[in-house]
């Protein structure tokens, strides 16, 4: 593969990310070098790396790298992260933990007389369920009395989407995916009812900020502006602290009231069925030893955990149920699992978008997984979304060379529920057609019927590998 500048790395002239044969490099241009060296000398970067808050880095030999442009004096190499995810794929708890990391890094930086040039949520990634900061050039020396320049960006990319869920019970994902820079303070202010505006935090951060911004556009008001007071460092630190305290307490307004309701308890098969499923998945993971699994329809991460225990290196879980991914996140945190649960509507995955339609990559352009799990997923797409069964199977098989797919037949109470108020137009939704679709491009390595139900687990291996 030829070295190329990462399509998402163009905003900051002080350096760029290059991907060369799977390795990740960061160039530091002349305009960014002095700041970077000065920040590095404070010891901040090493401290953050030691605490697993900043991706590790080491100096690379620029002379041996053909892609390095003329104006570059320093090249860093970083370890490659298993998966790049975006804030519009994060659930509430992931976005919240990313926000807290951003504030913690800020507070730590100020102690070293360093500040940050921005507060982009895209500068935070997850390894397992742990947030980690990825932009080494976002730091620069702090100047006495300067403002929190990135405050507005922090509000739009972290605070406002969290408030949307915490104060109004609206999830941020669809909106954020459409508005890549986050949710504007003025939109949020318009949405919030008066009774939600009586807390000092909401009043100051949303209502006042919006009104001030609006007023600043008024030319007559701007003309009277005449004295610069600056922001004392102590006030800066206090503002970060109170923002942190506030965000730490935020919780979704609607917790507990989503599709899956009872979760683990709420399915159509017995406890033996569940342990049988776990054993099947564990066998699969033991034999295939996948580096990266996509668990599509991961629910609360129960079967991801089984696969990890059996030898899978890391798993990206996907589900469209917000409470499920928050619960899976909690499971990952509690058990320190290499599991990152993300929001996904499998019928409409994240596309290539942003500047040049390449800045933020679509789901498949970001990483290749070597296995998939698709448990109790197919009927949601084939019946819930009218996607032909064969197309569902082909899509799943195209994602990874190995995998386990569960077929839930029409007789199953969960499918009956989906069909309750509609005509059954799904003549082709049968086990025979399901297996025939798989066998067109893959072989069935093993199958098993889930006890206490008419569901079937199928372990496939694609023929082209």
């Amino acid at each position: 593969m030829n070295a190329g500048i990462d399509a998402g790395s163009f905003r900051d002239p002080r350096g760029h990310i290059y991907i060369d044969d799977g390795r990740v490099f960061r160039t530091v241009t002349k305009s960014g070098l002095a700041d970077f060296q000065q920040v590095r000398q404070t010891g901040l970067l090493d401290k953050l790396v030691d605490n697993n808050r900043l991706v590790a880095f080491e100096e690379a030999d620029a002379a041996h790298l053909s892609f390095v442009p003329q104006d570059v004096d320093l090249v860093l190499e970083h370890p490659r992260l298993p998966f790049i995810s975006y804030p519009y794929e994060w659930g509430f708890q992931l976005l919240k933990s990313a926000a807290l990391l951003q504030l913690d890094i800020y507070a730590e930086a100020l102690q070293h007389d360093v500040t940050l040039t921005d507060a982009s949520a895209y500068n935070i990634q997850f390894v397992g369920s742990r947030p980690i900061f990825i932009d080494h050039l976002a730091f620069r020396p702090y100047r006495d009395g300067e403002f929190w320049t990135a405050h507005r960006q922090f509000c739009e990319q972290f605070l406002n989407p969290l408030l949307l869920r915490a104060k109004l019970g609206i999830v941020h994902n669809a909106w954020y995916r459409g508005a890549l820079e986050g949710i504007s303070t003025s939109d949020l202010n318009r949405l919030l009812p008066l009774r939600k505006k009586f807390s000092w935090n909401v009043f100051s951060q949303v209502v006042l900020q919006d009104k001030f911004q609006e007023a600043s556009l008024d030319k007559s008001a701007r003309a009277t502006v005449s004295i610069n007071k600056g922001l004392p460092k102590q006030s800066f630190e206090r503002m970060l602290m109170s923002m942190r305290n506030w965000i730490e307490k935020l919780q979704p307004l609607d917790s507990g009231k989503t599709v899956w309701g009872g979760y683990a308890a709420d399915n159509s098969y017995s406890g033996e069925g569940a342990s049988q499923k776990r054993a099947f998945i564990a066998d699969f993971a033991r034999v295939v030893q996948p580096k990266l699994i996509w668990d599509i329809g991961c629910n609360t991460g129960e079967y991801s955990a089984a696969a990890l225990e059996a030898g899978a290196a890391s798993i990206i879980g996907f589900d469209f149920d917000q409470t499920a991914i928050d619960m899976a996140y909690q499971r990952a945190v509690d058990n320190d699992l290499q599991l990152l649960p993300l929001y996904l509507d499998a019928a409409n995955p994240a596309p290539d978008q942003g500047w040049g339609e390449r800045e933020r990559k679509g789901l498949r352009g970001r990483a290749e997984c070597d296995a998939i799990l698709a448990l109790a997923l197919v009927h949601h797409l084939a019946i819930g979304k009218n996607v032909p069964l064969e197309a569902v199977v082909n899509w799943l098989l195209s994602l990874a060379p190995n995998g386990v797919i569960e077929f839930v037949p029409k007789s199953d109470p969960m499918v009956q529920e989906l069909l309750r108020f509609r005509d059954d137009i799904f003549d082709k939704y049968t086990l025979e057609n399901f297996e025939r679709s798989i066998q067109a491009t893959a072989t069935i390595k093993r199958w098993d019927n889930v006890e206490g139900s008419e569901r079937r687990l199928v372990w496939y291996r694609r023929k082209d590998i």
Partner: protein, 88 residues
Amino acid sequence: MKKIIKVLMTSLCMIMLLTESAWAYLDPGTGSLILQSLIAGVAGAMVVGRLYWEKLKVYFSSIFSADGSKTSADASNHVNAERDSELR
């Protein structure tokens, strides 16, 4: 509510200047900067307010404590000394 905000905002605009954005990597947004000044101002006022509140509490406790217990008398002396030094 709208009127209060307008008055607050105009008075704040009168005492603010936003010249430093020239070197900023991103547009900080004027609303954000005015808000930060306000918050810094409110926090400052709260610190001053708390100082006087503590003094007031000590002052009243020294008046109302019938036995004139040693601690409150000491504290009020301390505050008085502080106040004297400020007056000087």
